[in-house]
Symmetry: C2
Subunit: 103 residues, 2 copies
């Protein structure tokens, strides 16, 4: 069993979103990105049949890519990982990413 | 793409935890349970090689089963779905469950 307290995943870095891998198995990968205001996870996609979930844990910003829309804490997008996706932070923002199965 | 605002998943019921299915594909199932204080998801397991994640969105309670421990908002357990797991709420509690792949 893997236990995580997301309150402990609190690092931010000045030059790019801070990435932490929480869990990785053939079925499932979970990672977080912590954004300073203005930082961005550029639009990208992956050649796979996996699905990716973007769950905003804290803050406000914008979902980028195919499904561009405002983003705020408590919102999530679930989509095929082949669809272009990304995120831009307006405030400090913490993002949980869930990929299933692993790429 | 499936979009969910977890703030809209705000129903509670008196007789048992309120369950809502958010997403279901062969790779991934996501659902929520909203607990009134004292309500419980009884300890159970599933005969499968899937993994289950229990993420506390709000409130306080206790993880039950193989990995019994206090539970509060922002904490998550990731485990093989074959391991006995459950949850009991002490306050109003909202739980996000992620199963990958689908049972």
């Amino acid at each position: 069993m893997k236990f995580v307290d997301l309150r402990d995943v609190d690092k931010f870095t000045a030059d790019r979103p801070h990435r932490e891998l929480l869990y990785d198995s053939p079925n499932l990968r979970m990672l977080t990105f912590n954004f300073e205001p203005g930082q961005e996870l550029p639009v990208h996609s992956h050649p796979s049949d996996s699905e990716v979930t973007l769950l905003i844990l804290e803050g406000e910003g914008e979902f980028l890519g195919t499904h561009e829309m405002p983003a705020r804490a408590g919102q999530l997008q679930i989509m095929p990982v082949g669809e272009p996706h990304g995120l831009k932070a307006r405030t400090r923002l913490r993002l949980l990413v869930i990929i299933a199965p692993t790429l």
